[in-house]
Symmetry: none
Subunit: 190 residues, 4 copies
DNA sequence: TATGAATGAGCGTTCATTCAT
DNA sequence: GATGAATGAACGCTCATTCAT
């Protein structure tokens, strides 16, 4: 299954992302979705076995692509602080440019769907980042506290930064980004 | 005249909070809720005009109680850093002890219900905190950046702190709390 | 039962009439009605055993009062055509001034409630009128056709006359009334 | 692809007509209707978007067919009185043979549904008849009064005629029909 | 008598999913 | 493979009526 029309396939994903980010998973109605992409409901069920399959497939795809990106983003040669900043800023930018995907992922984590994801997929995500943080600690640049805590801070502030920009409470300027990163850095640096 | 069972009223709220924090607003089914509190569906509609009324009533209650608490929690006499720390820790503790309420409020903000809240209720919330931050800036203790940004950092880290504790990734010890606050403080101090 | 507050009693009837004429019997909601007249629902059930009783009581009342009026309205001394015209015009006027009652009665006839009226009440209505028509036939002034037919014509045109006036398609002037009656008269006169 | 059972469609309309003429629009219960025609409730909603759509669709259909019939029924060549009689009798007959449809239409006019009909549908109905009446007035055969009044008389007597026959108070014989029409004619002729 | 509390039986509607061609 | 037809299981809500004080 899931072979035929690639265009439709993409349209389904795109539309699902759209609706989920606006109205949540419950807002996705199979009939609606089918109409939007110009398919009959029953044909939609040829592409995806059911609603769960639809959402899980998209989720797995998204997460896998995200992991790949993390790996590519790290430029080994840079000094630690700059390396971290680069990655951090990359994700801020990425989150803003892929709001829908991020929103989908965010909602996924709180939904019952998340629990059904294969562990292999769930684990894959954070590996990279912990390696990075370990390096910082080894170099004596980061506070010697649990990785989870440092990660939490990094991600929390990143999330708020994105929100501030999306909600037009802050401009996406070099200055502001420098400021925001300096604040996280101050928080986690030893 | 039959007499109203005050217990039921509380049970309704309690159960709603429970379900919302576990499955979101959509997870609240009037029939289900009625059964949980030992009432018939129609009686539930005697207490609340409809589902929206149920949720909004609880929301307004929660927010008002939250505002009151904020006001009470501030001990004017303390030096700024300590004052902020006290408040911040109070909310960390409170959030942990009232997970369901907090989860409800968190979801409320992203739901269409939030937009329907009377402005008077919405506005009341933030006043206190901005006053506190203003003081910190006036005393030259906080970075001279937008209040929204400082608030965002404070709240973001608070949220993550709570999550770490709830998910058993960190103990709720004096040491850990000192650590966490020191991290936020480092981030926002001038 | 049904003894206490005469004012409430009247208010109930008045409100029921109002609602029925606007939205039909189904539009009468016991709870609504109670609120309108400043009674609790349960007290409304002290006045009337149930919704059917409420409607039937009003119906019987209305019909009985209507019959009485018919009797009073006939001035024996007049010549037949004038006598008929007087009665006919009386009813046109009455129908206009008591739209709600008439509407109630009209709807009653098509409703399942009508079948439940005691025959004694149903029969009483037309007696008078048939006597009048019989007289007209005896005097050779009316077509010698079945009373039902003559009655039907009289009533049908009366109904349309009322409608024309109520819907502002005709003025309630002496001329117009003369015209309308002359039309019925032409139809039924021998 | 399963093929649509055209019978069902008709059965829905037929049953709706039946129920409406017996118990009014409120008497139509979607679940009941579905059962009558051997469909599940949800399938009924495949045929019609909702209850209003069901009723409005039938209404529009009926009115349009009625208008068409009016147009066809007029035989231009006949002298006026005969032409009018033909049409009048046609509608008497039609009303008797299509009681349910007529009852539906009658109730429609008093229901809130009527106000929601597109004007194009509402207007179409009366054009023909007014043309006919105008002719009668031009030829000096009808009383020179407002068309609304003449129409009202024609329709009112028609309605009563139908009722008399349906309620078995009069036979549908040539004689009786001649009589009834002569009565209307006497009423409206100049 | 008066009334707030409580309820069962229903109703219109939605939606993910399956059937049959 | 594609699709229109069909459906069961819910869900939110209403309302006449009864209960219990």
């Amino acid at each position: 299954m899931r072979v035929k029309d690639e265009t439709k396939q993409l349209a389904i994903v795109e539309n699902t992302l759209c609706v989920v980010s606006e109205k949540g998973f419950a807002g996705v109605k199979m009939a609606d979705l089918a109409k939007r992409v110009g398919l009959s409901v029953s044909t939609l069920y040829v592409y995806y076995k059911n609603k769960e399959d639809l959402i899980m497939s998209i989720a797995v795809d998204l997460i896998e692509r995200e992991s790949q990106r993390s790996e590519q983003e790290i430029v080994e040669a840079l000094p630690f602080k700059l390396k971290l900043k680069t990655v951090w800023l990359f994700w801020v930018n990425f989150s803003i440019n892929h709001r829908k995907e991020m929103s989908f992922l965010e909602q996924l984590k709180k939904s019952p769907y998340y629990g059904k994801l294969p562990n292999s997929v769930k684990e894959r995500k954070s590996k990279l980042s912990t390696a990075l943080i370990d390096q910082g600690k080894k170099e004596g640049l980061l506070k010697n506290v649990d990785n989870d805590i440092l990660m939490a801070i990094l991600i929390a502030v990143m999330g708020e930064t994105v929100k501030l920009i999306i909600h037009d409470k802050m401009e996406l300027s070099q200055n502001n980004m420098d400021l925001m990163f300096s604040m996280v850095w101050d928080a986690i640096k030893s």
